[in-house]
Symmetry: C2
Amino acid sequence: MPRRSEPGKRPTLADVAERAGVSAMTVSRVIAGNYPVAPPTRSKVLRAMRDLDYVVNAHARALAGATTKTVALVLDDATGPFFAFIARGVEQQAASEGRLCLLCTTHGDPERELAVVELLREQRAEAVILVGGAQDTDTYTERMAYFARALDKSGSRLVLCGRPSPGPDVPATVVEYDNEGGAYAMTAYLLANGHRKIAYVGREPGLSTTDERVRGYRRAHADHGVAVDEALIRPGTFTRESGAAVTEALWEERTDATAVFAATDMVAAGVLKALRGRGVRVPEDVSVVGFDDIPLASDLTPALTTVHVPHEQLGREAVRLALHRGPEIEDRVVLGTHIVVRDSAAPLRP
Amino acid sequence: MPRRSEPGKRPTLADVAERAGVSAMTVSRVIAGNYPVAPPTRSKVLRAMRDLDYVVNAHARALAGATTKTVALVLDDATGPFFAFIARGVEQQAASEGRLCLLCTTHGDPERELAVVELLREQRAEAVILVGGAQDTDTYTERMAYFARALDKSGSRLVLCGRPSPGPDVPATVVEYDNEGGAYAMTAYLLANGHRKIAYVGREPGLSTTDERVRGYRRAHADHGVAVDEALIRPGTFTRESGAAVTEALWEERTDATAVFAATDMVAAGVLKALRGRGVRVPEDVSVVGFDDIPLASDLTPALTTVHVPHEQLGREAVRLALHRGPEIEDRVVLGTHIVVRDSAAPLRP
DNA sequence: CATCGCGTAGATACCGCTATCTGCGATGCT
DNA sequence: AGCATCGCAGATAGCGGTATCTACGCGATG
C-alpha cells in the first residue's frame, strides 16, 4: 500500500498530488507559481488542496529552498514605548515583505543576549535586529563584531538599530537617528528663546546616545556664542526617579537654571514632578524639554516640548535595509529627528 | 571527492562528523545527549564542533523531529501597554521553556488575522496565542472554532488570552481574567465610600470585556441595595478622546454623578481631562476610577485608583497551559483581579 | 570454549519540499 | 515531410537532521 494520507496526519504535497492525480512537483509548481502549469491541471490541484486543507510545511520549505522568510527582533524589554514602537515598525515592515517576525528579549543580560543570538543562528533568520542604547565601549564593539560575523556565517544579517556602529569591515547594517542634530535643534530653540542657563539632566555615562546628545547641546551653545556651564550637565539614569532626584539635588544647590533639557521624556516626567513639588511653575518659571517623543510626552502637564525620534520608521528601515542589500545600497542610515513644540517651554521672562 | 565543508557554506552534521572521524549519527547523539557516547568520542566531537563553529539547523531538526520549539503571539498592535505586558509575559515564559516566540499583529483586520493564522499553521508553532478583547458574537465564536480546529489539525494549540471562550468541544485553551469580579470589587468600594450615583463611562457595545464589567457593576449595586440608574451607563470606545467626550456630554446633561467608573485607564485619562477642564476637582468633587492598571494609571494626576489586571501573568499562563497539557490539566483558567487604591477616589462628601 | 549480553558506533530510511534534468507529444519552420 | 522547438509534467537527488535497526568488539557466563 502506498503512503496514504492517514487521518490525523497533516497532508503533504504527495497527498495532494495523489488526490489530484498528478506528481508532487506539479503541486509544488502550482503553489510556487514560478513555472507554467496547464490551467486544467492547476485547477485540479487547487481543488485537491482545498479538499485536504493543505498547508505547506515552512520548515521543509526552508530546508529545501534557501530562505526562511523570517526576521528576528532582539530587545531589552518589550514594554516601554520606545521599544514597542520600534517593534511595531519592524513587525509591519516584515509583514509587508512577507516575513514573519521572531521576538526575543534579553533584559540587558549579556549572557542571555549571546544565547539569543546563538538561537537565532539556528533559526537562520534573514535578519537579526538588535535594538536599544548600548555602552559604547571596546567590549561592546568587539561583541557586535563577533555577532555580526557569526550571524553572517549562518546566513543572516545583523542590524544594529539605534546603536553605535561596530566600525567598518564588519558585516552589519546600522540604522541610527540623529541624536546630535535633535539635541542641537532643541538647545538652539531654548537659546533662541533667551535661555542662557540650560541644565542637561540625565547624562548616563558611557551610553552612546547620551554622548551624542550632549555633543549637540554643546555645539548649539558654541554656535550661539554661549559658554556651557559644565556644572549644569548632571549625570543620571533614564528613569523618572532619576529625573526627579537629579532635579531636587540641582535646585538644592542652585536655582539659576531657567530651562531643563531632560535626557529622555521619562526623565522629563521626573523633572516636572520635582519642580511641581517645589512650587516651580512650568513653563512660566522654568522651561522643560525632553527627548524621544513617546506618547507620555503629550500626556504630561504641561504637554512636553520634545525631540521626536522616528521609532517606527527606525524599525521599518532596519528590516528594509537588511532585506534588500546590494552594492548600490548603503548599509548605514541615519534618520532625522526634529523638535515638537508643545507647552512646556516658553521664552525667558526677564 | 566527497562532500566537503566548502568555505562560505555553513557546516553540517556531516562536516563535523568527518572532522571528528565519526559518523553523523554520533554527532547528533552528542548534541542530543540522549544516548550513550564514549567520553573520548564525545570530546573529539565537541572539539570538531567548536573548530567549525557548528550550529544546528533548526528547520532540519523541526522537519525530522516533531517539535518546532516555537510559540506564536498574535495581537492587534504591539504598542499600548496592555498588549506589551502580555507580550512580555509570553516571551518570558516561552524563553524559560526553551521556546522561541513569533510575533504577529493584525491591526484589528479580520482578513489579516486569517492570513496570520494560515502563516502560523505553516510554521507549525506549538501554540498560537490570540490576545485582546473581541466582539462576542456568533461570527466570532465560529471564527475561533474554525481557527482552533485548523490549528489543531496542523499540530498547534490555539490559546485565547483575555478573550471569550468559543465554547466546549473546541480544541482551544482559554486564559481569562476576572472582569466581573474586578468591576464588582471596584463598584463595591465606591458604594462603600458612600457614592450612589456612579457613572459607567465607555461601555463598548458587544465587547465581551465590557459586558462582564457592567455585570459586576450591576451586581455590586444589587448587593448593596442600590438601584442602578441606567442613564448613567454611557457607551463609548476605549480611548482617551471618547472618555473626555462622553464625560463632557454627561456633565452637559446632568451633574449629579459623584463618581465615574471608566471602562479602562485610558478612558479614565480622558475623563480626568474633561473634568479638569470643567473645573471639577478629583477626588474632592468627583471620584474617578479605571480598569487595567497600566503604567499610565500611576502617572495621572491624581494617581488613578483602578482595577489591576495581571497582564504579564496572563501571557505566562497562556504559554504554560498550551505547552503542558494533559488529562489532569485544565484548559481554561481565570486569573484574579483586584483593586489598587491610589488618589483619584475619595469618600463622598455630603 | 561457544554463547550471551552490553556498550558503542554506523547504516539506512525517512521528514516534506524544491532544483534540475529528463521525457514526450504538439507545434513551428523551411 | 523532417527536424528543431516549445510547453508541460514526471523522476530524481538532495537540504540537514533524527529514529531505528544492525554490526561489532569484548568481558561475563554456563
